[in-house]
């Protein structure tokens, strides 16, 4: 467990990075992929070691991502995808692949489809051919794919068994699509990936002893806290912008923060922010019963998405324009609602965990 002082240090460092590097890059992030990615931003992220953080229960990753998301959620999503990919390799006991893939452990940027349901049907198909595996099909919305050196992907074996793959983006037959324009998290490079008769060594199948589905589920559980932290970071930022505007803007001869309706909206945003922050902390630090963890995750993601809409509403026309940041936070929070799977799919899992003890998928 990391001491609070260390977490504070992480928070301060990332906040400074947010002010000095991320905020000046917001325009570029917002207009990606029509403009180039801000190289310095991602370079500094790497130098600061954010890609090296782990979902290890210390809370460090969550604190970093919440603070980063308060400035912009796109780089946080990029870190999350990389960490998800790396944790999959680590939990499967295949860290050695990192060195094989790139030559420097913990340095490559890994790509992972972090919006996919963990046990959804994968359109990526693998079959064993001697000492190799052949890969066909596609993978959709793979985060970091346009910049990554390696892809970590859920896949299906010929007999329908879920598996996990780790392959270089430079492998013959791997086609990374054009960077996608998405609702939110713009500036987090994302693309579809097509596989056309790709052949790689069989050791690139990294399913652990319990199988690919269990491996992905296990790692996804670890990342619920960081996902909640991203939601909390976005919403906290939206809340602060709304309060600042409400103090400044006058209507009816007084600041709008004095209007009861505005105070009610702010109160709901505060309630939701507290919920998200607490969810992030509990999910990051504690080993919670599965139903409780899923309930916190679902509620946190949903409330952040709705509350950031109110964040736009409070600023009226200004909230709708790019310059004020609220519209970006609204889009980012809605996109974050899809992290680790869509809400209703998670709700079905939650009930399954509560009622059936997880016996049913």
């Amino acid at each position: 467990m990391i001491e609070n002082t260390e977490l504070d240090l992480i928070r301060r460092n990332v906040a400074r990075f947010g002010d000095d590097v991320v905020r000046p890059s917001l325009d570029a992030l917002n207009h990606y992929p029509d403009v180039a990615l801000p190289e310095r931003l991602f370079g500094t992220l790497t130098e600061m070691g954010l890609f090296d953080l782990s979902a290890d229960g210390s809370g460090a990753l969550s604190v970093a991502l919440a603070t980063l998301s308060a400035a912009a959620a796109a780089p946080a999503a990029s870190v999350l995808a990389h960490v998800m990919g790396r944790e999959l390799l680590t939990v499967a006991g295949r860290e050695s692949l990192l060195g094989v893939i790139d030559g420097h452990a913990f340095r490559p940027t890994l790509a992972y489809p972090i919006y996919a349901e963990t046990s959804g049907p994968s359109p990526t198909r693998v079959r064993r051919v001697g000492n190799e595996i052949a890969i066909d099909g596609t993978a959709r919305l793979v985060v970091n794919a346009p910049v990554a050196r390696a892809l970590v992907l859920p896949a299906l074996e010929a007999d329908g068994t879920p598996a996990v793959l780790a392959i270089e983006t430079s492998a013959a037959g791997v086609r990374i699509g054009d960077p996608l324009l998405t609702l939110g998290m713009r500036g987090c490079p994302t693309a579809d990936v097509a596989f056309d008769g790709v052949r790689v060594p069989a050791d690139r199948l990294i399913a652990g002893p319990s199988g690919g589905a269990a491996l992905v589920d296990d790692v996804a559980r670890r990342l619920r806290g960081p996902v909640a932290a991203i939601c909390a970071g976005i919403l906290g930022s939206s809340l602060h912008a709304a309060v600042a505007y409400a103090k400044e803007r006058h209507q009816g001869g007084r600041a709008i923060v004095e209007h009861q309706e505005v105070r009610s909206i702010l109160a709901r945003m505060i309630e939701d922010h507290v919920l998200c922050r607490d969810a992030a902390e509990r999910l990051s630090r504690g080993v919670l019963p599965e139903p409780e963890a899923l309930a916190l995750l679902v509620r946190c993601k949903e409330r952040a998405a709705h509350a950031t809409c109110d964040g736009v509403q409070l600023l009226g026309g200004y909230g709708y324009m790019e310059d004020y940041g609220q519209e970006r936070r609204m889009r980012d929070a809605k996109q974050a609602q899809c992290l680790l799977g869509r809400t209703e799919w998670l709700r079905q899992r939650l009930t399954s965990a509560f009622v059936d003890g997880g016996a049913r998928p």
Binding site: A116, L181, T182, L183, M321, R331, C338, E344
Partner: protein
């Protein structure tokens, strides 16, 4: 996916049994809009959204030209002014249909209706004839003279639309009276179509210390010295309709630029918003429907957990919720629109009687110099303005309450359906090429413009819950009643 007219508008279908001609107009509006959506909106909406994202000055000229060919810009302009003569209430079904394809393009095509309504509410028939003729003549030539309405200021948005808030609004614009006219100063912001309109209906006080008593409408051509277009906004959505800053730098306009009317705040603004908020409500229904249609199409063709989405009960419930939301939103705006036809601005401008009259009189007569000069005469103006004054305050309240209630309800429903659609589509919904994330971005603006939904709730309170006691119960004006025509005819020389 293409329900019949009667399935979509049972109230109107029932109404049509008594007024078959009105029903025929509704059906014609839907038919035109549906074809326009299929041929021009659906194939281009995403590409235009993307183009404006790259360059906010991009204008979908080809859509404007196509809409002009269909006569969409002038469709609600009275025939006597060269337009299509369709009532606003009838045209509203076209707003839903086009908006279901793209709210940005619907706004690009429809927002000049706010300007026309504003001019109409002044009662200045001459000005109405002038802007209408310019619009429809241009439309026939393939280049409609678009109008914008400049209301919002940097420090005052919603408060400019409410007479109580206006007293204390932080206004910076002023049209200072000078010899021979006015000098306009200040800037207006977020003006839809502001960068492409040829004429701007500018709402400014002549004395900003007394805005309630001195706010008027001015017609300002875009080539007026001292006028310029400032920044064009990077909006989250509805990108196809540009929002611009309009700058008035000691901009002189002659006395004739000021529309003849009493001050706008109060009755006249209420009449405008009572009419146009129903239109925004139609767009709420439109986006609710667009989200529903796309979610359904996706659910029928994609799988999760080994089964088609549409075969999962949770998806069926969500689709059912979306479908009933569309019905609710549609009922809201239809009710508001009929309320406006009976009690509000439409009862004067395009009431059933006026339409019927225009149908009887040949277009060549309506276009004749004699009729034209008659319509712009002082007597016609005074007659129309007297009609505005004679409208019962309780009736205006009813139209305003319906408009505000529909605006809040339908636009909230629109956003709700976008949330649901994104949840049904999951990660695929986040992609621009799926179109649903665009609906979500577009829909949010509906809760903000034409008065925020917060202000509109208070409007419902003022107009429906806490009515001033001196206001009488509204007496509906029967659609097509001869009384309105008689009043109008009496107003002619």
């Amino acid at each position: 996916m293409n329900p019949s007219f009667a399935e979509m508008y049972p109230t109107l279908a029932a109404l049509g049994r008594r007024r078959p001609r009105m029903l025929a107009d509704f059906e014609r509006a839907l038919r035109i809009a549906r074809r326009f959506r299929r041929e021009h909106i659906e194939p281009n909406a995403l590409a235009i959204d993307r183009a404006v994202m790259r360059d906010p000055t991009y204008v979908a000229e080809e859509i404007i030209a196509a809409a002009a060919r269909e006569g969409l810009f002038g469709m609600t302009v009275p025939k006597a002014f060269g337009g299509g003569g369709m009532s606003f209430g009838t045209f509203i079904v076209a707003l839903e249909e086009i908006g279901a394809g793209c709210l940005g393009l619907a706004n690009l095509i429809g927002v000049h209706g706010l300007a026309i309504a504003t001019v109409a509410a002044t009662g200045d028939v001459g000005a109405m004839a002038k802007v209408s003729r310019a619009l429809t003549d241009g439309e026939r030539a393939g280049r409609p003279a678009l109008l914008s309405t400049a209301i919002t200021e940097p420090g005052a948005g919603t408060d400019v639309e409410d007479v109580d808030l206006l007293r204390t609004a932080r206004l910076t614009c002023e049209a200072r009276p000078v010899r021979g006219g006015y000098r306009l100063r200040g800037s207006k912001v977020f003006i839809s179509n502001g960068s492409i309109a040829r004429t701007h209906v500018v709402i400014m006080p002549t004395n900003r210390e007394r805005p309630v008593e001195t706010t008027f409408a001015f017609l300002v051509p875009s080539d007026t010295k001292g006028f310029s277009v400032g920044r064009i906004e990077h909006k989250m959505g509805q990108r196809a309709c540009p929002a611009a800053e309009l700058v008035f730098d000691d901009c002189f306009v002659p006395e004739s630029a000021r529309l003849h009317s009493k001050a706008l705040p109060g009755r006249r603004i209420e009449l405008v918003l009572g009419a146009t908020r129903g239109g925004v409500a139609a767009w709420g229904a439109a986006v609710a429907r667009g989200a529903y249609e796309r979610a359904l199409a996706y659910a029928e063709t994609h799988e999760i957990d080994g089964a088609r989405l549409v075969d999962h009960q949770w998806v069926q419930i969500k689709l059912a919720d979306m479908a009933r939301n569309v019905m609710l939103a549609r009922a809201c705006y239809v009710e508001a629109t009929l309320s406006n036809e009976l009690f509000g601005l439409s009862s004067l401008v395009s009431g059933g009687g006026m339409q019927d009259l225009a149908r009887i009189v040949p277009q060549r007569v309506l276009d004749s110099a004699a009729v034209r000069s008659l319509l712009v005469s002082r007597r016609a103006r005074e007659g129309f303005q007297a009609s505005i004054e004679q409208l019962d305050a309780g009736q205006i309240d009813t139209a305003s309450a319906h408009g505000a209630a529909a605006k809040v309800s339908a636009t909230d429903i629109g956003m709700a359906n976008c949330h649901i659609a994104l949840d049904v589509l999951g990660a695929d919904g986040l992609r621009h090429d799926q179109g649903v994330e665009k609906l979500y971005r577009d829909a949010k603006l509906l809760q903000i413009y034409e008065g925020t939904n917060q202000l509109n709730r208070l409007e419902v309170y003022k107009r429906a819950v806490h009515r001033k006691p001196e206001r009488a119960e509204p007496r509906p004006r029967p659609l097509g009643a001869a009384a309105r025509e008689r009043e109008m005819v009496r107003g002619q020389p």
